[in-house]
């Protein structure tokens, strides 16, 4: 029972099978059926993953392209369900998988803050209370009432990141997003993440950049060919990762 209270994410024997549906229209489907082509192709994106992530841990996930890193993150975020196995989450989750997923270009910055905040699980009142904090952090007071289609990509990301980090999550899932934005803002993002870390937020960071993970995480998981290769202290895992010669 004590175990349950300290575990933030538990992944038990989880596997994910993707059905690649090759034909999306009847035009493609009909000849395929008559020609005896398979309509669906299967492949395992993840096989038998077992993980227990404790509350307050900062875990980096590394591995080559196609190893299943993003799939693992999406499973944790609940956007896709495991084909086998079980995933249990303990706490409020903020997926920074792709920033600004709910943004609409025709709406103003202000409207998008409310829209995205509520999509990420805040109530309207909570967004109102945090509104100025969010805009302060994004440094976008000047443009807040303009449609975000006029924003530069940097401004767009700043706003999206700012909304996401103001949702007071217990678990933060981050997918490669910190490779974007200007230097200044990136520093600010990392500072904010350090604060989260100190506050005991569980952070899962997927990245290609090993230095980022070495700098920030205490534990690392090396994923390759849909399986966990090594899982342990960040120093050990990064050593094995470098020795494996990928990257």
């Amino acid at each position: 029972m004590k175990d349950n209270q300290t575990i933030a994410i538990s992944v038990a024997e989880a596997s994910k099978l993707f059905r690649l549906q090759k034909q999306r229209t009847f035009k493609e489907l009909l000849p395929a059926l008559f020609g005896g082509q398979k309509a669906v192709e299967h492949f395992w994106a993840l096989e038998n993953i077992n993980l227990k992530i404790k509350k307050g841990e900062t875990v980096g996930i590394i591995g080559p392209n196609g190893a299943g890193k993003s799939t693992l993150l999406k499973l944790m975020a609940g956007v896709t369900k495991p084909t086998k196995g079980k995933i249990t989450l303990n706490g409020k989750i903020a997926p920074l998988i792709e920033l600004g997923a709910g943004f609409h270009p025709e709406l103003t910055g202000r409207e998008n803050i409310f829209l995205n905040g509520i999509i990420l699980g805040l109530s309207k009142k909570e967004v109102t209370d945090r509104f100025s904090e969010i805009v302060d952090f994004a440094e976008l007071w000047e443009f807040i009432d303009q449609p975000i289609k006029h924003y530069s990509s940097g401004m767009y990301l700043r706003l999206a990141f700012s909304v996401a980090v103001h949702t007071n999550p217990d678990i933060l899932l981050i997918d490669e997003i910190l490779a974007v934005g200007d230097d200044n803002f990136r520093k600010k993002c990392f500072k904010r993440m350090e604060e989260f870390k100190k506050a005991g937020v569980t952070i899962i960071l997927v990245s290609h950049a090993l230095e980022q993970i070495q700098k920030f995480c205490t534990r690392a998981i090396y994923l390759n060919e849909h399986r966990v290769i090594v899982d342990g202290k960040v120093e050990e895992v990064s050593e094995k990762y470098v020795n494996a010669g990928v990257n």
């Binding site: 956007v79 896709t80 997926p95 998988i97 509520i118």
Partner: protein, 259 residues
């Protein structure tokens, strides 16, 4: 049951997504929301001209224009709700693959946005009612349960169509064709009596026919709706909804993979 829980937990999200859908439309064009009212209005004018002056539909007890409008408005709601819903998941691919919340919220928000359109386009209908001095009785309150049955039926079909369209994008084109044929098999532009008797069984099985006849009965004729038919439409809608919801929930876990 699960619907109530869903509403209490996600009503703000539903509200935001609905207003996003409404706002994006009026921001994109000059006349913006006026189109919502003008479209069915002009459609009605053109059809009223064709059918009362050129084809000369026999007397229906009320002016043909208002008779037509009473059928055309709910049909437009049905038509727009389905064509909107069928794309509600595909059109939100970005959200669908990034953040989890119950996926039927997308379908619901599309339907709610179309309800707002419907309410606005009814304003001209009310002016017509006053202009033609159509007597109104208490029976007009039946409009509320009739509308509820219509929306239940629409929601059931929408859930099914939205999910199916993710797997095969042809569904949306097929839907347009089906809706065109369906409209002519529903007494929208004509009255049930004009239809050959031997084919009238179609109307008994077509919930939209039952619903549109009921609207006309309570609004224009001031009478009671045919409760037996309406009950059948309700049962049919609930049955389809149960199946559609089960199907939707079964494939929901795959949405992010196929989108």
């Amino acid at each position: 049951m699960s619907m109530i829980k869903l509403f209490s937990q996600y009503h703000e999200l539903l509200g935001q997504l609905t207003s996003r859908e409404i706002k994006q439309r009026y921001k994109q064009s000059v006349l913006g929301y006026a189109w919502v009212i003008l479209n069915p209005f002009f459609q009605m004018l053109v059809m009223a001209f064709v059918y009362s002056i050129i084809i000369r539909i026999p007397d229906l007890g009320v002016p043909y224009s208002i008779y037509l409008y009473a059928g055309l408005l709910p049909w437009t709601l049905f038509n727009n709700s389905l064509t909107g819903s069928v794309n509600s998941l595909v059109g939100n691919a970005g959200l669908l693959s990034k953040i989890y919340f119950p996926r039927e919220i997308f379908v619901m928000s599309t339907m709610l946005a179309k309800m707002v359109d419907f309410a606005l386009s009814c304003s001209i209908f009310i002016i017509f009612m006053i202009y033609f001095q159509i007597p109104v009785t208490w029976n007009i309150l039946w409009v509320i349960p009739i509308l509820l049955i219509q929306q239940l039926f629409t929601y059931a079909l929408s859930l099914f169509l939205a999910a199916a369209n993710l797997f095969y994008r042809d569904i949306q084109y097929l839907l347009n064709l089906v809706l065109l044929i369906w409209m002519y098999l529903t007494p929208v532009i004509y009255a049930t009596e004009f239809f050959p008797e031997k084919y009238q069984w179609i109307f008994k099985l077509n919930p939209m026919a039952i619903i549109i006849n009921a609207y006309r009965q309570v609004i224009l004729a001031g009478g009671m709706p045919n409760l037996q038919s309406l009950g059948l439409a309700l049962l049919l809608s609930l049955g389809i909804l149960a199946l559609a919801y089960k199907f939707f929930k079964k494939v929901e876990g795959l949405f992010a993979d196929v989108v």
